[in-house]
Amino acid sequence: MNIEYMLKYLPLYEKAAVLTVTIGAEGILIAAAVGLLCAVVQYNRVPVLRQIAAVYIELSRNTPLLIQLFFIYYGLPKIGISTNPSVCGAVGLGFLGGSYMAEAIRSGLESIEPIQSESALSLGLKPYQVMRYIILPQAVSISMPAFMANIIFLLKETSVFSAISLMDLMFTAKDLIGLYYKTTESLFLLVIFYLIILLPVSLLGRLVERRLRYAGFGS
């Protein structure tokens, strides 16, 4: 392997990694917000919204991100909704991740015994206060491991961003392979940079899981 070559193009990868993480983080935030909304709507059986959430979740879970991005990026402008690549990336990732986050939070919500909210109600708390102070904080802690797993999943999914011409890590690697034929070096850097991004999140996920098990929620 050619170390000199790798050092030379390191800054390109750094830039691309920042882009990957930035848009990834934006997408994950959108996903968390959408997921929270869907989960609460479904948990509280809000009419109409609940059905909309169900349809959305099925559509989002059963289609690939790449096709979702193509539809948003190339399809939607034809009916007057245009996006630029980075907005499209974040929105697409949010669309995909929202359903996964919703499932994570929903299972957290369902794991909380109804008597917990009854005891909160018996103290005179209003239903929204019960949700806000009692149910959601517990549900979110319980869903934390699933949440972390989703974050890793979504960060990995960002690798298709290059298909809508975002200059992310994949794009950079492919570009360099095409230009200089230094395939092994370019791919080695690609792997290293993904490890730099994903390993800490993965370790953090394990830590969260262990801490939660230790905390013994619900008992």
């Binding site: 879970r61 289609t63 690939p64 096709i67 539809f71 034809k78 298709v160 994949m170 395939t183 690609l190």
Partner: protein, 224 residues
């Protein structure tokens, strides 16, 4: 009614071509699934065994495959196989290799999870009833493991199918590539084709994966 570019689909054999492309993608995932399931079961069984060396090797393999985006793995196998091994792999073959490697890791994890989730006293109480080791596995442990495993494996198949969409990016001609060709060919006659055609591809994937998701959640409810 705005022009949604749906008319392209009814031109010539466009719809058939798209379906053919979908089949090309499904074929790759199907072959990979068929290879991954036995290999994954093997991996899972190895992973619960206590031999240190085997465990370190399988664990490293498993962690690396799981943490890397599948597209990175595709790139490595497709672009670097010539250099590393001196062979030239087609996009299709690279895809099958990568998805099998990945599917094996995921399946192995599911098998490991299913085996370790059977409580220890299930073994003990079977042995206490006088069943021998083989009978314990055959009548008690394996049926329970399979029940836990089946819904999860169906889910894995849906994930595989969705992931096959990536093979477009290493130049395999599948449904999305066909879609691009159709949109390109009709660019002047139907300028809005991108909407209709990508929507169709979206729905095609949905209609393929949705029934499997429903099946998985049914199985889970039945045996959960």
């Amino acid at each position: 009614m705005p022009d949604l570019g749906l008319e392209v689909l009814f031109k010539g054999k466009n719809m058939l071509r798209l379906l053919g492309g979908l089949w090309a993608a499904l074929e790759i995932s199907l072959i990979s699934v068929l290879l991954s399931i036995p290999l994954g079961i093997l991996l899972g069984i190895i992973m619960v065994r206590k031999e240190l060396v085997l465990r370190v090797i399988t664990r490293t393999y498993f962690e690396f495959i799981r943490i890397m985006p599948q597209l990175v793995l595709l790139f490595i196998v497709f672009f670097d196989s010539t250099k590393l091994f001196g062979i030239n792999l087609s996009g299709e073959l690279s895809s099958v290799i990568v998805f099998t490697l990945w599917g094996t890791a995921e399946m192995g994890d599911l098998v490991r999870g299913a085996i370790t989730s059977i409580p220890k006293h299930q073994y003990e109480s079977s042995l206490a009833l006088g069943l021998n080791n083989a009978q314990t596995y055959f009548y008690v442990i394996i049926p329970q493991t399979v029940r836990r495993l089946l819904p999860l494996s169906v889910n894995l198949i849906t994930r595989m199918i969705k992931t096959t969409s990536l093979v477009l990016l290493i130049g395999v001609v599948e449904v999305t590539k066909v879609a691009q060709q159709i949109i390109e060919a009709n660019r002047t006659s139907s300028p809005n084709a991108a909407f209709g055609v990508y929507l169709t591809v979206f729905m095609m994937y949905f209609l393929t994966c949705w029934p499997l998701s429903i099946l998985a959640s049914r199985l889970e409810k039945k045996w959960g």
